[in-house]
C-alpha cells in the first residue's frame, strides 16, 4: 500500500529525515516510536504534504502512485488520512458542513455519486456511535473550544467518516487521559480491517497496549534505527531510548 | 483606602525636582529669527558654506509651513520671534579636559546626577552634555577613538568629519520634513554625532544629557548616529530644564542610519520641566526622530516620557532593507495639565520586515495622553509583520486617554495586528496588595511599574533603575 524509499526531507535548510525506508501493507498496523525531535511528526507531515517540508531525496509510492507529486487534497482523496497532533480550530466552519464538503469532494474524486442529506445524516449518526463522539460537538464550529480529548476524538470521528485506506495517527495519545485513550483506541480497533492500514506515531508504549501493532519501528535522528514486533515497544518502555541512541552512534562512527 | 481628592492634590502639589537655574555667564543672541540669525549661528560655529546653505534652505521651508492643525488639543500660539536661538556658556573655547570646564556648570551636571567626570564614568557611560545649545564635554573620547568610534558634538563633527556629516545630515529627516524639523535645520545649535565603524560593537552606552537653562531660549539640537555595516551601538539621552513661567521650545531632530546588519538602540528618558499644576510654563517638546534600516538592520526606540508641557514626537523607522526590524517601546506619563501626543511610524518597504510597537500611556490629574501611530505596508513588503499593543491607564476622572492608530496595507502577504485597551488602575489589585500589608502608595508604584515593565526592560540597566524611580516619583500619591 505504502512504500517509502530512502526518503530525505528538510525544513528551512535543516535536515529532518535522512533516509527512511518503510513498507506498509493492507491490514497492517505499524507503530513508529522515538524520542522527541527524532522526526516522527515530520514524517507524518511529509506524507500528508505540508508545504514547508522539502523532500530532497527518495520516493513514496501510495497504491502504486507517486505520492510526493500530489497536492495535499489529492493525497487525502486517494485515501491517506492524517490525524493531527494539534487539530486546528476553525471558528465559523461547522463540523458537519466541513465533513459534508470533504466527503463530497472525496466521493466526486472517486467518481461516486454524492450522498444525499438523509444518507449523510445516517452515516454520521452511525459513525458517531461507533467512535462514541458527542452529537453536540458535531454541530459546533470545527474544533472551536473543544478540549484536547474532544479534538482527538473528532479526528477519529473524521477518520471513521472518510474511511481512508491508510491512516497516520500523529501522537494521538498525547494529552489524553486514560478514558479518552480507551475511547480513541476502541474507535481505531473497530475501524481496523484487512483492507486498511495504520501508522501510529507515539512517544509512549501506553497506546500500544490498546492498539496492538504488527510492527514497531524506532526513529532516531531522521532514520529508522531499529524495527521489530510489539516486543520492541515493551523493551523501549523498560530501557528508554538511550541504549538505541548509543547503538546508532556506534554505527555511525563505524 | 486613601481619599481620592487628597491624593490627587498630592500629585498636583508635587514639585519638579530639577527646576533649579544655574548662574553662568552666557553668550545670548537677542530674540528673533531671520536670515541674519542663521548666518550669525553659522559664522559663530565656523561652518562651511554648504552647511550655511542647507540651513538657509531649512529656513525657506520653515517660512512656507504652517503649524499643524490635526492634533486633538489646542496648540497655544508660538511666537518664533520671541525666542533666542543661540545661548552658550561665555567661558567657552574648547575644553581639553574637564578641569577647564566652569565649575558651576559641572556642579549643575552633578545635581542632575550625570556621571560627567571621568571617575563617575566608571559606570561605563560615555557622556556628551548639551547645555542650552552647546555641547560642553564629551567623556571617554580617547577610549572610543581606539575603536574608531566617533562620539563628539555635532559642531566638532562638522569641523573634523565634514564628509560624513555632509553625506548623512538630512538624509533621513529632510530639511523640509515638517515645520519644527525645518526650524531645527535652520537654527540647530549643536547636538551629538556618533559614527560606529564597520563590524564594531560599541563597548559602552553612549549618552547625552540635554539641559535648557537660559530664559527665553529654545533648544534645537541635532543628533546624527551612523552605524556602519555590522556594527552595534546603544545610545541614551536624558533631558531636564529649570522651572520657568514661560513656555520654552525644544525642537530637536534625531537621525539614525543603520547600514546592513547594523543595530542601533536609542533610549530616552525625557523629564523636561512640565509646567506647574495650572499648566503655566513648561517645555514644548516637539521632536522629530527617525531612523532608516538597510538590509538585516535593526533600530529600536525606547522612551520614558514624564516631562514637558506638550510632547509631540513619533520616533519612526523606515524599514527599507529586506529582513530589517523596527521597534518602539514607550511609557508616557501625563499629569497636571500635561499633554503627550506620541507614537511611532513604521514604514515597511523591504521584504520580510518586522515591527513591534509597545505603548503604555498613563494619565493622571488633568493630563491628556494620546497614542498616534502609523503602520504602513508597501506593495513590495512581502511577508511583513507588525504587532502593536497599546494600553492606557487612567488615574482619576479628569484625565483622558486617546488612541489613533493608522494601518495602511497594500500587500496581501502582510500580517498586522493592533490591540489597545483602556482601563483604570484596579481597585481590587490595590486592595489585594493592601491585604498583603503594602500601603496604597507603594501598591500604585508596584502596579505602574508592572504595567510599564515590558518597556522598562528595554532600557539599559543603569537607566532602567532611574526610569523606574522617575515613574514612582512622578505618580507619587496617585491612588485611584
Amino acid at each position: 500500500m505504502l512504500i517509502i524509499r530512502n526518503l530525505h526531507a528538510e525544513v528551512e535548510d535543516k535536515k529532518i529525515l535522512k533516509g527512511i525506508d518503510l513498507t506498509v501493507n493492507a491490514g497492517e498496523v505499524h507503530a513508529i516510536m522515538g524520542p522527541n525531535g527524532s522526526g516522527k511528526s515530520s514524517l507524518a507531515s511529509v506524507l500528508a504534504g505540508r508545504e514547508n517540508y522539502q523532500v530532497t531525496e527518495g520516493e513514496v509510492l501510495f497504491e502504486g502512485k507517486n505520492l510526493l507529486d500530489m497536492a495535499p487534497e489529492d493525497r487525502a482523496r486517494e485515501g491517506l488520512f492524517l490525524a493531527f497532533q494539534y487539530p486546528i480550530e476553525i471558528p465559523g466552519v461547522s463540523n458537519i458542513n466541513f465533513l459534508k464538503t470533504a466527503l463530497g469532494e472525496i466521493r466526486a474524486y472517486k467518481g461516486q455519486p454524492p450522498l444525499d442529506a438523509k444518507e449523510f445524516l445516517k452515516l454520521s449518526r452511525e459513525k458517531q456511535k461507533l467512535v462514541e463522539f458527542d452529537a453536540n460537538l458535531v454541530n459546533r464550529s470545527l474544533n472551536e473550544g473543544f478540549s484536547g480529548g474532544e479534538k482527538k476524538r473528532n479526528e477519529i470521528f473524521q477518520l471513521a467518516m472518510l474511511e481512508p485506506s491508510l491512516s497516520i495517527l500523529d501522537e494521538t495519545d498525547s494529552g489524553l487521559d486514560i478514558d479518552a485513550l480507551r475511547i480513541v483506541s476502541q474507535g481505531v480497533n473497530k475501524l481496523r480491517s484487512e483492507k486498511n492500514a495504520f501508522i501510529i506515531i507515539t512517544h509512549y508504549q501506553r497506546l500500544l497496549d490498546y492498539i496492538v501493532p504488527d510492527f514497531v519501528h524506532v526513529l532516531y535522528n531522521g532514520r529508522i534505527v531499529k524495527s521489530g514486533t510489539k516486543e520492541l515497544a515493551l523493551e523501549l518502555e523498560e530501557k528508554g531510548y538511550d541504549w538505541l541512541k548509543e547503538e546508532s552512534r556506534e554505527k555511525a562512527t563505524i | 483606602m486613601a481619599n481620592d481628592n487628597e491624593i490627587l492634590d498630592n500629585i498636583a502639589n508635587k514639585e519638579y525636582e530639577f527646576g533649579f537655574v544655574t548662574d553662568i555667564e552666557m553668550d545670548i543672541l537677542p530674540a528673533g529669527l531671520n536670515e541674519q540669525t542663521i548666518r550669525y549661528i553659522s559664522e559663530k560655529k565656523k561652518e562651511p558654506e554648504w552647511l550655511l546653505e542647507w540651513r538657509l534652505k531649512g529656513f525657506q521651508a520653515f517660512r512656507k509651513q504652517k503649524l499643524p492643525e490635526w492634533q486633538n488639543f489646542t496648540l497655544p500660539p508660538i511666537d518664533f520671534q520671541k525666542i533666542s536661538y543661540y545661548a552658550a556658556p561665555r567661558n567657552k573655547k574648547k575644553y581639553n579636559s574637564l578641569d577647564e570646564v566652569d565649575p558651576e556648570l559641572l556642579a549643575t551636571f552633578e545635581k542632575l546626577g550625570i556621571p560627567l567626570s571621568e571617575q563617575k564614568a566608571l559606570a561605563g557611560v560615555a557622556v556628551d552634555a548639551v547645555f542650552d545649545s552647546i555641547s560642553v564635554a564629551t567623556t571617554y573620547k580617547e577610549k572610543l577613538k581606539e575603536l574608531g568610534i566617533i562620539f563628539c558634538s555635532f559642531g566638532e563633527a562638522v569641523q573634523e568629519h565634514p564628509d560624513l556629516v555632509k553625506k548623512y545630515v538630512g538624509s533621513v529627516v529632510p530639511h523640509s520634513d515638517n515645520i519644527f524639523a525645518a526650524l531645527n535645520a535652520a537654527v540647530f545649535s549643536d547636538g551629538s554625532f556618533v559614527y560606529i565603524p564597520k563590524g564594531v560593537r560599541c563597548p559602552m552606552e553612549l549618552s547625552t544629557y540635554f539641559r535648557i537653562n537660559t530664559e527665553n531660549t529654545g533648544q534645537f539640537e541635532r543628533t546624527l548616529i551612523i552605524a556602519d555595516e555590522g556594527s552595534y551601538v546603544s545610545y541614551l539621552e536624558g533631558c531636564t530644564a529649570p522651572m520657568r513661567d514661560e513656555n520654552q521650545l525644544h525642537a530637536a531632530v534625531v537621525e539614525l542610519i543603520a547600514l546592513d546588519n547594523a543595530e542601533i538602540k536609542y533610549s530616552t528618558v525625557q523629564n523636561w520641566y512640565p509646567g506647574d499644576k495650572d499648566g503655566k510654563g513648561g517645555i514644548y517638546n516637539f521632536v522629530t526622530k527617525r531612523g532608516i534600516c538597510k538590509t538585516n538592520a535593526k533600530i529600536s526606540w525606547t522612551q520614558v516620557e514624564t516631562g514637558s508641557a506638550i510632547t509631540w514626537k513619533y520616533p519612526s523607522v523606515i524599514l527599507q532593507g529586506d529582513n530589517s526590524t523596527g521597534e518602539f517601546y514607550s511609557v508616557a506619563v501625563t499629569r497636571n495639565k500635561q499633554i503627550a501626543d506620541t507614537g511611532t511610524k513604521m514604514h515597511h518597504i523591504g521584504r520580510n520586515t518586522r515591527s513591534r510597537i509597545i505603548s503604555k500611556g498613563i494619565s493622571a490629574g488633568h493630563g491628556q495622553n494620546s497614542y498616534r501611530g502609523l503602520v504602513q505596508i508597501g506593495s513590495k513588503a512581502d511577508e511583513a509583520r507588525n504587532f502593536t499593543q497599546c494600553d492606557s491607564l487612567l488615574i482619576g476622572d479628569q484625565c483622558g486617554a486617546h488612541t489613533f492608530p493608522y494601518i495602511e496595507s497594500k500587500n496581501n502577504t502582510a500580517t498586522v495586528e493592533h490591540e489597545a485597551t483602556t482601563s483604570k488602575i484596579g481597585e481590587d489589585q490595590i486592595f489585594y496588595l493592601n491585604q498583603r500589608g503594602i500601603d496604597s502608595e507603594k501598591a500604585v508604584a508596584l502596579i505602574i511599574n508592572g504595567y510599564a515593565r515590558e518597556v522598562l526592560n528595554q532600557l539599559p540597566m543603569e537607566f532602567a533603575v532611574e526610569a523606574q524611580k522617575l515613574l514612582s516619583i512622578t505618580l507619587e500619591g496617585s491612588v485611584g
Binding site: 487534497e73 466552519v93 | 506593495s379 483622558g400 495602511e408 496595507s409 502582510a414 495586528e417 493592533h418
Partner: protein, 437 residues
C-alpha cells in the same frame, strides 16, 4: 467652500440653483437654510479632511449629474433580486427615493405609522424629527438636509411592535446620470419594537447614479431597534449613506451593514449617540469588496452617559484591486463612567492588488471604563488551509470555506434565518474560485 471645487465642479453650481429653486417654491425652513450654509462652508470633502483621508471622491464628482431623479416604476427583476426568499415580512419599495404608498404583507399592526417623508415633515406631531438639531454637520449630511425632498418616515407609537420585519427595497434606476438625496426618519417610541431590513439595488451599466442618503433613527426609552442594511447596488452607483442614531435610556439598537461587490463607491457613516444611560448598541459590519470598489465604513459610538454598553465588529474581505477603509471611533465623555465599549476590525486581504486602511480610534475622558479595540490585517491561516486540504477539500473550496467562516461571525448575528441564508448565498456567489496570489 474650496475655491478650486467651486470653479471646477459643474455640480456645485447646480446645487446652488437647486437650493434656490426649492427656496422659491416655499420659504425654506430654518433647518434647510442652516444646512445649506453649512454645506457652503464645508464644500465637498477632499483627502485633506481627516475623515476622508483614504477616500478620494473627486473623480466621482466630476461626472455630470442631474439633480432631479427620474420618476419611473420599479423594474420587476430588481425587486426580485432584492426579495429575500422565505422571509415573512411587510415589504415596500422606494424608487429613486420615493415611495408610492403601497406595501405588501398585510395590514400593519396598530401604532405603526409609515408615510412619505414629504408628508411627515408637514405633520405638526412629527416636527421634532425635522428640527435644526438633526440637520447634520458633515459635508454630505448637510447637503442632504439642504436639498432632500422625500424618503420614508416610520413611527412606532409607545409599546407598538412590528409582528414581522419590514423590508424596504431601495431601487435606483434611470436613463441618465442623476443625483438623489433621500431622507428617512425611523422612530421607535417608548418600549416599541422595530425590525427593519433595507436592501439597496440598482440597474447596472449606465447611467451613473449618486445616492446621498440620510437616515435619522430615534430609539426612545426601552425601545428596541433591529436594523439590517444590505448594499448590493451595481458598479455605476455611488452610495453615500449617513445613519444617525439617537438612543435614550435602556434602549437597544442593533445594526448589521453588509456591503457586497458592486457599487463603485460606498461610504457609510454610522453614528450612534448614546444620549442617556444604560443603553445597548451592537454594530456589525461585513464588507466584501471586488473590482475597483472603494468601500469606506466610518463609525462613531458616542458614549455620553454612564452604564452604556457598545460592541462593534467589522470584518472585511478584499478581492481584486478593491480598497477597503475602516474608521471606528469610540468616544467616551467625562460623564460616561462605567462604560463598556469594544471594537474590533479584522481584514482578510485576498488579492495582491487590494488595499486596506484601518483606523480604529479610542477617545476616552472617563476613568472607570472598560474599552478596547483591535484591528488585524492578514490572510488565511496556512495551517487551517492545510487541515482542510488534508481532509480532501480542494484548495479553492477550502479558501471559499474559510472566507465563509470568516464572515460567519457577522452573518451568525442576524436574527432572521432567511436573511442570514440569503446573505450567505450572496457571499458565496461572490467568492472567487481562485484568488491565490
Amino acid at each position: 467652500m474650496n475655491a478650486l471645487q467651486e470653479h471646477t465642479l459643474p455640480l456645485y453650481g447646480k446645487i446652488v440653483d437647486k437650493y434656490h429653486e426649492l427656496s422659491a417654491k416655499d420659504a425654506p425652513p430654518l433647518a434647510r437654510q442652516s444646512a445649506f450654509h453649512k454645506f457652503q462652508l464645508l464644500g465637498f470633502p477632499t483627502i485633506k479632511n481627516e475623515d476622508w483621508k483614504y477616500t478620494n471622491i473627486t473623480r466621482f464628482l466630476k461626472d455630470e449629474y442631474a439633480l432631479e431623479a427620474p420618476a419611473v416604476n420599479a423594474p420587476a427583476p430588481l425587486v426580485a433580486k432584492a426579495t429575500i426568499p422565505g422571509l415573512e415580512c411587510y415589504r415596500l419599495v422606494l424608487v429613486n427615493g420615493t415611495w408610492n404608498g403601497e406595501a405588501v404583507g398585510g395590514t400593519l399592526p396598530k401604532g405603526i405609522d409609515i408615510r412619505r417623508t414629504s408628508e411627515a415633515a408637514k405633520a405638526p406631531e412629527y416636527a421634532g424629527f425635522f428640527s435644526n438639531e438633526f440637520a447634520g454637520t458633515q459635508h454630505f449630511a448637510a447637503l442632504n438636509a439642504a436639498l432632500y425632498t422625500d424618503g420614508l418616515f416610520i413611527h412606532a407609537a409607545p409599546n407598538a411592535a412590528l409582528d414581522k420585519p419590514l423590508h424596504i427595497i431601495h431601487v435606483y434606476t434611470g436613463d441618465r446620470n442623476f443625483w438623489v438625496q433621500p431622507r428617512h426618519v425611523w422612530a421607535a417610541g417608548r418600549n416599541a419594537e422595530l425590525s427593519i431590513i433595507e436592501s439597496t439595488v440598482s440597474i447596472s451599466g449606465e447611467p451613473f447614479i449618486w445616492v446621498n442618503s440620510f437616515t435619522g433613527i430615534f430609539a426612545h426609552p426601552d425601545a428596541k431597534l433591529d436594523h439590517v442594511n444590505l448594499q448590493i447596488a451595481a458598479e455605476n452607483v455611488r452610495l453615500i449613506s449617513h445613519t444617525s442614531v439617537h438612543q435614550k435610556k435602556q434602549s437597544l439598537y442593533n445594526n448589521y451593514t453588509f456591503t457586497l461587490p458592486g457599487a463603485g463607491l460606498v461610504r457609510n457613516d454610522l453614528q450612534a449617540r448614546l444620549e442617556e444611560d444604560h443603553t445597548e448598541t451592537h454594530l456589525y459590519g461585513l464588507y466584501l469588496t471586488a473590482g475597483d470598489q472603494l468601500v469606506d465604513n466610518h463609525t462613531l459610538v458616542d458614549h455620553q452617559k454612564p452604564h452604556c454598553f457598545s460592541n462593534e465588529l467589522y470584518k472585511g474581505v478584499l478581492l481584486e484591486q478593491s480598497t477597503g477603509v475602516f474608521n471606528g471611533k469610540v468616544y467616551v465623555h467625562r460623564d460616561a463612567q462605567k462604560t463598556n465599549a469594544f471594537q474590533q476590525n479584522n481584514n482578510l486581504v485576498i488579492s495582491k492588488k487590494a488595499t486596506i486602511d484601518s483606523k480604529p480610534e479610542l477617545e476616552i475622558f472617563a476613568d472607570d471604563v472598560k474599552c478596547s479595540h483591535g484591528s488585524t490585517v492578514g490572510q488565511f491561516s496556512e495551517d487551517a488551509l492545510f487541515y482542510l486540504r488534508a481532509r480532501g477539500i480542494g484548495e479553492a473550496s477550502a479558501r471559499a470555506l474559510l472566507i465563509n467562516a470568516f464572515a460567519f461571525d457577522i452573518t451568525d448575528k442576524i436574527k432572521h434565518a432567511p436573511v442570514a441564508d440569503y446573505i450567505n448565498q450572496l457571499i458565496s456567489h461572490h467568492i472567487p474560485v481562485n484568488h491565490a496570489g
